[in-house]
């Protein structure tokens, strides 16, 4: 009986132990090559396909200047003079005396505070000045640099030296200093004796500039339904270029008007009462004009400008890239026709987006960026765009449209535009630099 029990314990231990060990498997070891490695090895190839980009072209008109998320004011002699403007929305010029009574009384403007946000600037700019002008409230998408030139050369409504303002001692909100709000809304402000206030947002990258206007600077014209238009020019010792937030961005300009009106005494039992109030006006239209204007499209591939241009490139994938290799890196190589001129802070990003269906200019695109590159002002270097995931997807799925669009980000917010040589220029045509792994020869000893 004891022997049987002992043997049973041995059996259970052996089977149980085996079951536990059976779960562990480790068969991979560092290879001792070539003697004790598989005959075939993983082979990698690197090829520049110079003729793979075909039927490439550019189209313009995707985003107009007034639809951009920023508007550029710049003054770079010999390169560009860009001026931004906006027309504020209509606002009541009269108010009802009391509820249920149709009698109205005019508002009497006391003052106004105007805010605009500078989304981008060159931090190396010195003596950077921002000047405000009145522009006609009829300014709209048909306005041109020439048509607004008179307004921009008229009397200056207000002017602020941003560089000087930033050089003044800051006022720090100690209540917010250590709070979460500080990181979002900022806590540092600068002010000068003319009523200008400058607040830093987003760790100093965004500047909110507040102007204090009197009734002459921001008059209420009843005939204009309270509308008013402002134009903006910049000047600096150098690098005079800023981007101002528009109604399409999260930091649109606005004007807050402080006014009062009088409620007359209708029963002669008490004196007239004065009511103080304020109202806010946001832009009904904003945009910018610049000279020289964006040149017309030519045989090259244009990306950017105003209205924005995009380049559509079609790729003739070789059959062997579909079925016998694994793409590990794919780089689109583009040669600029010339360096983009301007201010360094006007450098911009271009993105590659996959064309879902090739319908020419109106091709729907996948909004996911398949590749990005930053175009630096003044750099004539070849632009490399990593589009590995896109080419891998094409390699695996032959039903996909092998085309993509290159666009600027943000679009139409600046005078900047880059042009690349197209497939019409054999020596500089776009190429695709593909690194791929050849299919492993399985089954061989």
């Amino acid at each position: 009986m004891t022997r049987r029990l002992g043997f049973l314990v041995l059996l259970v231990a052996a089977v149980g132990g085996g079951a536990i060990w059976a779960c562990v498997e480790q068969v991979t070891a560092p290879g001792s090559c070539p003697n004790y490695c598989p005959t075939d090895s993983i082979t990698i190839r690197d090829t520049i396909f110079t003729a793979i980009i075909q039927r490439d072209t550019s189209f313009r008109g995707y985003v107009p200047g007034y639809g951009a998320e920023a508007m550029t004011a710049a003054d770079v002699p010999g390169i560009v003079d860009s001026r931004a403007f906006l027309v504020l929305s209509k606002a009541p010029t009269r108010v009802q005396v009391k509820g249920g009574d149709t009698t109205t009384t005019p508002i009497i403007s006391d003052s106004a505070r105007f805010r605009l946000s500078i989304m981008r600037r060159d931090t190396l700019a010195t003596n950077l000045r921002l000047r405000l002008y009145h522009v006609p409230i009829t300014s709209d998408s048909t306005s041109t640099f020439a048509s607004l030139d008179a307004a921009f050369n008229g009397p200056v409504v207000d002017s602020v030296n941003l560089s000087a303002l930033l050089a003044t001692p800051p006022s720090i909100d100690t209540v917010r200093a250590d709070s979460l709000e500080r990181r979002f809304y900022g806590d540092t402000t600068y002010r000068d004796g003319a009523g200008h206030i400058l607040a830093l947002r987003d760790s100093g990258r965004i500047l909110d500039v507040y102007f204090h206007f009197d009734t002459l600077q921001a008059p209420v014209v009843e005939a204009d339904s309270g509308q008013i238009g402002f134009g903006f020019r910049v000047a600096a010792d150098s690098l005079a270029s800023i981007a101002i937030g528009t109604a399409q961005s999260t930091r649109t300009a606005f004007l807050q008007r402080f006014f009062h009106h009088t409620i007359p005494d209708t029963v002669s039992t008490q004196p007239d009462s004065i009511v103080a109030a304020n109202q806010t006006q946001t832009p009904a239209f904003d945009g910018f004009v610049f000279t020289p204007p964006t040149p017309a499209l030519d045989s090259n591939l244009a990306v950017g400008g105003v209205p924005s241009a995009r380049a559509l490139l079609r790729v003739a994938m070789p059959a062997f890239l579909h079925d016998s290799v694994d793409v590990v890196r794919a780089t689109l190589v583009l040669v600029p026709v010339s360096a983009v001129q301007g201010v360094a802070s006007d450098s911009f990003k271009i993105v590659v987006q996959h064309v879902i269906a090739d319908l020419g200019a109106k091709s729907p695109v996948d909004q996911t960026d398949a590749g990005t590159a930053v175009i630096h002002i003044g750099s004539p270097d070849t632009v490399n765009l990593e589009i590995t995931n896109l080419v891998r997807a094409w390699s695996l799925d032959t039903t996909q449209t092998t085309a993509f669009v290159i666009g600027q980000v943000p679009e139409a917010a600046s005078y900047t535009e880059i042009r690349f040589y197209s497939s019409r220029a054999p020596a500089f045509r776009p190429g695709l630099h593909v690194t791929y792994v050849k299919r492993f020869r399985f089954g061989a000893p």
């Binding site: 041995l10 562990v24 068969v27 991979t28 560092p30 993983i42 399985f442």
Partner: protein, 377 residues
């Protein structure tokens, strides 16, 4: 009518046993791996039960549950099934680079039963070639003018199995013959992966596939009792070319070796047996592999004690078919125990084996714990 009834009952019981064993152990069917098989067709499996392997393989030609010899089936008196499993711990020294590996295998199963007094039919599987391995290779390649560190991992998971249908017949009191038909089949799941140190710009490349193998073969063997205590064995086997298919297309065809060998067993009394055998295989006929070698192997072992609970030990030596330069060698020793239970209807065998393999620039040490179960319903 009696024969038909016996055949029906045999088939039913064999089916039940096969289902139970396969359900319980339906995992990988492989022998022990070796780095020596990577650059060849694989690592040849050992066609031995735990009992035979505990004796260094010496008892394999005389053991009905070792798939080596078909003639030994003639001694099976009732429907029986046997399964072998093994766990290996392998240490590899490749030119100074050490690594430890581990695997669990089920290298052999045999189901056998008499259909008449003199004829026994058997079926089962064994590992013909093991092709489970993985190698990691680190290198630096020049890509786009920049040295780029890469890591390659090539793995193969699977084996080529030998499905056997065999008949053993006793032609007289001294002579038994056996013949077998073999279907060599199996598949390996293979992966080749290259990853780059620069993960920002380069994506990992992974290629996966499944390679299916196929061949057929035949075997013949005999047992001859010189005296009641001395038995001789001889066997021969030939296989067709081994075809490797990927995605339905044949990618390679390789010759398989002729196998022949002889053995002797001596019963030294009621509680001791000694055996030894030699085996040749002309792997050198595999033309497509540059470093294939003919192999010779030998083994000697003993089984001591009562048949119900014997103690076994053995020695083996030989060569491995694939390796650069000089033919790699293999030396091993093993020992084990057996125990019958349930009135002789079941038997549990355990064994421990140590193998040492040596080749040009590579040394392997292998410990294998083996567990075998034989049932006779």
């Amino acid at each position: 009518m009696t024969v038909i009834r016996r055949l029906g009952g045999w088939a039913l019981r064999a089916g039940v046993i096969a289902a139970v064993l396969l359900t319980a152990q339906a995992t990988r069917l492989s022998a022990q791996d070796s780095q020596f098989g990577i650059r060849g067709l694989g690592t040849p499996g050992k066609l031995e039960s735990v009992r035979a392997r505990s004796t260094g393989g010496a008892f394999a030609p005389f053991d009905a549950f070792s798939p080596l010899s078909d003639a030994a089936l003639a001694d099976v008196r009732r429907l029986s099934a046997s399964v072998t499993s093994g766990i290996t711990w392998r240490s590899v020294d490749a030119s100074g680079t050490q690594s430890s590996l581990q695997g669990t295998r089920f290298p052999a199963m045999v189901i056998a039963g008499p259909v008449t007094r003199r004829i026994v039919v058997a079926g089962g599987f064994a590992t013909y070639l093991d092709r489970s391995f993985g190698v990691i290779i680190q290198d630096t390649v020049n890509l786009r003018g920049v040295p780029q560190p890469v890591t390659d991992e090539i793995t193969s998971d699977g084996a080529i199995s030998d499905l056997r249908l065999a008949v053993g017949a006793r032609l007289g009191s001294r002579l038994a013959l056996g013949v077998g038909l073999h279907r060599i089949t199996g598949s390996t799941r293979v992966t080749a992966r290259r990853s780059f140190a620069d993960t920002a710009n380069y994506r990992t490349s992974t290629a996966k596939d499944e390679v299916a193998y196929g061949a057929t073969g035949g075997s013949a063997s005999l047992l001859f009792d010189v005296t009641s205590d001395l038995r001789l064995a001889g066997w021969f086997r030939s296989d067709s070319r081994l075809r490797a298919d990927v995605g339905g297309h044949t990618v390679s065809e390789n010759d398989l070796p002729l196998t022949y060998g002889a053995g002797v067993q001596w019963r030294a009394g009621a509680q001791a047996s000694l055996a030894g055998n030699v085996l040749w295989r002309n792997w050198g006929a595999v033309q497509s592999i540059a470093n294939a070698h003919d192999t010779f192997s030998w083994s000697f072992g003993a089984e001591i004690g009562s048949p119900a609970s014997p103690f076994r030990f053995g020695l083996r030596g030989g060569q491995l078919p694939f390796g650069v330069g000089k033919t790699p060698t293999e030396v091993g020793y093993s020992g084990g125990l057996g125990r019958q239970f349930a009135g002789g209807r079941g038997r549990l065998d355990m064994g421990l084996e140590r193998l040492q393999r040596r080749g040009t620039g590579l040394t392997e040490g292998v410990w294998t714990f083996m567990l075998g179960l034989t049932v006779r319903p």
